[in-house]
């Protein structure tokens, strides 16, 4: 953590992001081009799932990033409440819509995978349901952080919510799993079975790395904007 604390100063963060963002944008674009080639053209269709396996190259990384994004929100929340880092609040404000966006991508691509594979756009599968609840937690965080006239209050309320949410996520996951086994026999095709063939794994990890870079890029851009916006609000209050 000590290494990350130096970024807590908004001015220093700004210098850091200005140095990183241009090369990060180029890297993301290049990796995306290669990733799309790997995912859509180069990789073979799966023997069970056919071409729909290509949806997984977007779907699975989005799910990882949506979950990691909520963990990030909780970490930023803790950092705001414990150390009162001003940047943590701004970054949480910036990261929540990005995480929600990846969560939405995960849900919608999963639904488009489910139609040909399960015969329905939506089934009340345990994983889908807990992902949907994660999306609701994101919506709550976004709505709460923007619900106050004083932005500081929204930031701190949302930080508390993120911490409680991260405690609750495993409980929600566990109860939805239980609920699912109670109501529905598990007859669900899993991704590639127990072991994933390298021809599938390579594009999957490549796309995961690409989308991770995109996530970082979006969060940096939006945090930068939030810093400016806060300066603007302060100037308006003084005026």
């Amino acid at each position: 953590m000590a290494d990350l604390h130096f970024l807590a100063n908004p001015a220093r963060f700004r210098r850091f992001s200005q140095r990183v963002v241009p090369s990060l944008s180029v890297a993301t674009a290049l990796m995306l081009a290669v990733g799309l080639y790997l995912a859509l053209l180069q990789s073979p269709p799966d023997y069970q799932q056919g071409d729909t396996v290509r949806i997984m190259f977007v779907h699975v990384p989005s799910a990882w990033l949506a979950m990691a994004g909520y963990a990030l929100l909780a970490g930023l929340g803790a950092s705001l409440l414990i150390w009162r880092h001003p940047l943590a609040a701004l970054m949480a404000r910036a990261a929540a819509p990005v995480g929600a966006g990846f969560c939405a991508v995960c849900l919608l691509t999963g639904s488009l995978w489910g139609r040909p594979m399960w015969g329905a756009y939506w089934v009340w599968d345990a994983r889908l349901t807990s992902m949907l609840l994660l999306f609701f937690l994101y919506l709550g965080h976004i709505a709460l952080s923007r619900a106050y006239d004083e932005p500081d209050r929204g930031d701190r309320a949302a930080a508390i919510l993120a911490l409680i949410g991260v405690i609750n996520l495993p409980i929600i996951k566990f109860s939805v799993d239980w609920w699912n086994t109670l109501h529905q026999p598990a007859s669900v095709a899993r991704l590639g079975g127990p072991s994933i063939h390298p021809s599938i794994l390579v594009p999957l990890l490549w796309m995961a790395a690409t989308l991770f870079l995109l996530f970082v890029l979006l969060v940096l851009l939006r945090t930068d904007t939030e810093i400016d916006r806060r300066r603007l609000e302060n100037a308006e209050q003084q005026a």
Partner: protein, 221 residues
């Protein structure tokens, strides 16, 4: 401890002077539950099948409906500032508020639910189970709802926001509450469900008072 009892007693006295507030919540519970047979149709076996889920969902909504005033009145008239200054922990005050809320909503809901269950054609043993699950489960709803109420204190559109925050967090309680009743009706493991429901209540008891107190402190700043 005496402060805790005094605060619960004070909240109960306030409710006693305006019993209409509780009556409205209970009336909502009855009316909302009655709408389901009207929407779904009067087939007895369908109604008995969905009864537990419907009653639990309606109880959840009813509990949330009464929450947005939980701290708001104290916030507006300055009681909250006194609680913040009081020499005893704010966590205890938060717990007392949730406790009072449970006594005036969770408890009546648990008593009322079996009566409505009769209209859904539930067996007597299942009615008893329904009441038991609500008794064990509604404290969790009061605590989580209390947290949502504290977080939305002074926010714009706090009522709808409160529901958006509290409902996803209440999902485990709903699953195990309705699941317990269904387990009893279909020969599943009722006691395991009740045990998990109690565990959820204990987890909520161990975590939410601190979060509520933190939320109230930053509301009072």
């Amino acid at each position: 401890m005496s402060g805790f009892v005094a605060l619960v007693a004070r909240d109960l006295r306030l409710v006693w002077r305006r019993p209409g507030d509780v009556a409205v919540v209970l009336a909502f519970f009855v009316v909302a539950t009655t709408l389901f047979p009207l929407g779904i149709g009067p087939e007895a076996n369908v109604l008995a099948r969905i009864a537990a889920g419907v009653l639990w969902c309606a109880a959840l909504f009813a509990a949330l409906l009464s929450l947005d005033r939980l701290f708001a009145a104290d916030f507006e008239d300055g009681t909250l500032d006194l609680l913040l200054l009081a020499p005893w922990p704010l966590e205890l005050a938060a717990l007392a508020k949730c406790c009072a809320h449970w006594i005036v909503t969770g408890l009546p809901l648990a008593v009322l639910a079996p009566l409505l269950g009769v209209a859904f054609g539930l067996e007597p043993a299942v009615l008893l189970a329904l009441s038991a699950t609500l008794l064990v489960g509604t404290p969790t709803l009061s605590l989580i709802g209390g947290l949502a109420a504290a977080l939305t204190l002074g926010a714009r559109k706090s009522g709808a926001l409160l529901a958006l925050l509290a409902l996803p967090l209440c999902v485990p309680t709903l699953i195990f509450g309705a699941g317990a009743v269904e387990a009893l009706a279909t020969g599943g493991d009722f006691r395991a469900h009740i045990a998990v429901l109690a565990a959820l209540a204990l987890v909520a008891l161990a975590t939410t008072p601190w979060a509520i107190a933190a939320a109230l402190r930053q509301a009072g700043e």
